[in-house]
């Protein structure tokens, strides 16, 4: 395999270590989550949800939920938000489970969709996404 084209840029950023945590991808307005460091094959459930399947054995290893800003606009931030308080300030997070449920409500009630959304919701997503990370206009 060839040398990575970004290796000279990245070498100063220390060791890599896989981390299974959801994150908001602003350029794609999507939330991405993967619980295994393996190549993924997309298994598209509908316009909004794609399940990531392992290229090794086809098991589900994560998901991408798209159109996050539109979901929040449609359903309202208050209905999707979790508030928690630290010693210093109130921290506001958008619940990923609530976003998944809102996305599910938005489409036809088919068995394949239900199975895909159930797969995504079963991942440990309790922390949510900090509202400060979202680009809501």
């Amino acid at each position: 395999m060839e040398k990575h084209f970004l290796s000279s840029i990245m070498e100063s950023h220390g060791e890599a270590s896989f981390r299974a945590e959801p994150w908001y991808n602003a350029d794609g307005d999507c939330i991405m989550y993967q619980n295994a460091d393996e190549a993924v094959v997309a298994d598209r459930a509908d316009e909004l949800l794609t399940i990531y399947r392992s290229a090794l054995d086809d098991r589900p290893i994560g998901f991408q939920i798209k159109g996050v800003a539109a979901i929040i606009r449609k359903f309202g931030l208050d209905g999707l938000m979790i508030r928690s308080t630290t010693e210093l300030q109130e921290v506001r997070h958008v619940s990923i489970t609530a976003i998944l449920l809102a996305a599910y409500e938005d489409g036809p009630r088919t068995i394949s969709r239900r199975q895909a959304y159930a797969t995504a919701i079963e991942y440990p997503l309790a922390g949510g996404i900090a509202t400060s990370e979202l680009q809501l206009s």
């Binding site: 060839e2 990245m10 890599a16 094959v41 997309a42 598209r44 316009e47 798209k66």
Partner: protein
């Protein structure tokens, strides 16, 4: 400090003649480098796709206008950090760009029955196929 990486690719507005810079955003590449080593390694496959694109689709999002999907088949990819294998014929590698040509997703897709360089269900998923290679 990581910086955006620019990669020449076919201009989706003028794919027969023009080239543009697609952008691998620094926040994406750094996140992949630090937390998703296999995705980081498969940025090599994504760069190959942009530089050797076989199909370009437009209209990839329901809510966000625009956006592009570039597809091709790299010779190999990483299925694990230390496992670089030939890219299977049953898959095609897709690179998704937003309207500002910023890469936001790179992944394999099952191929369509009617075109081995198109993702499955491409006729329903995208608003159109705007360019295909003739080679």
């Amino acid at each position: 400090m990581a910086a955006d990486y620019l990669c020449k690719t076919r201009d989706p507005q003028n794919p027969d003649d023009g080239l543009v810079d697609a952008i691998f955003p620094a926040d994406l590449t750094l996140r992949y480098y630090k937390f998703s080593p296999v995705r980081y390694l498969n940025l090599i496959a994504a760069k190959h796709v942009l530089e050797n694109v076989e199909r370009i689709f437009f209209g990839v999002r329901e809510f966000n206008e625009g956006g592009w999907c570039y597809t091709a088949r790299p010779a190999q990819w990483h299925v694990r950090e230390n496992a670089c294998v030939p890219f299977p014929k049953s898959l095609v590698f897709a690179v998704y760009l937003n309207p500002r040509l910023r890469v936001y997703e790179c992944r394999a897709e099952q191929v369509a029955e009617d075109d081995s360089m198109c993702p499955v269900n491409w006729r329903e998923r995208y608003r159109g196929l705007i360019w295909k290679s003739t080679s």
